[in-house]
Symmetry: C2
Subunit: 139 residues, 2 copies
């Protein structure tokens, strides 16, 4: 529905990790991977993909790594989820695989409820910034 993919989960955690180090120099992929228990080669792929979102930038070489280019308080969970799900497919409705395959023919009885769920969920996701998470607890 909204995520549940490893890739998205790792993306969230990686960005969280970058936010913790915001203001410092770039953080290496290997460092994030280690702290968050994410397979390094896989994280390479993910962070690289995130660059196009404008949330992070990278630098190669010895002092290279990744850093946030937006303020942690300006990046919401919703931003990250939306971006990661855009590449993956997301289901348009709870009862249909895709809009085109809806047997209810444009008058889907589930769609109202589905929209309400979507709205409520993104109200929370868009109302929570990465900074909120950083200031939440330890880890």
């Amino acid at each position: 529905m909204f995520f549940s993919q490893r890739k998205t989960q790792y993306a969230l955690r990686a960005i969280y990790e970058l936010a913790k180090r915001h203001g410092e120099g770039p953080t290496k992929i290997s460092e994030i991977a280690k702290v968050q228990g994410i397979p390094t080669r896989f994280l390479e792929v993910i962070l690289n993909q995130l660059k196009a979102s404008g949330m992070v930038e990278s630098k190669r070489g010895f002092y290279g790594g990744y850093r946030l280019i937006r303020q942690p308080g300006d990046i919401t969970i919703g931003d990250v989820l939306r971006y990661m799900q855009k590449s993956a497919g997301h289901s348009a409705c709870i009862a249909c695989v895709a809009e085109e395959s809806c047997p209810f023919d444009g008058n889907c009885v589930f769609s109202d409820m589905w929209k309400r769920v979507h709205t409520e969920v993104y109200k929370i996701f868009d109302g929570t910034t990465i900074e909120d998470l950083v200031h939440h607890g330890s880890s």
Copy 2:
């Protein structure tokens, strides 16, 4: 997260179809399959599984089929989702695959938000009955 499995989607639509015919005699699997565009053999499996939930009952023979044994107004979307997801695995958190694999060690920074999302979503699911859907539109 909450579903997005075909099986669950089909289950919802099958139950909706039964609700539309509530009060009449049993409805055949093949009938539901046809109307809702669900593979017949697959729907057999799904409805059979639903029997154990106490929402539907079946009858064999010429005048056989399935029928609801609870009132449509008494069955919520949440009931169906919970039942179908129980057999499948559901992720415990947005950022972790499973509680045990949480790198935040019991102090997960995502978990508060995740719980709020879960609460809001099921508030809607549990507040919507199958009857609500039947009285919603045509199809």
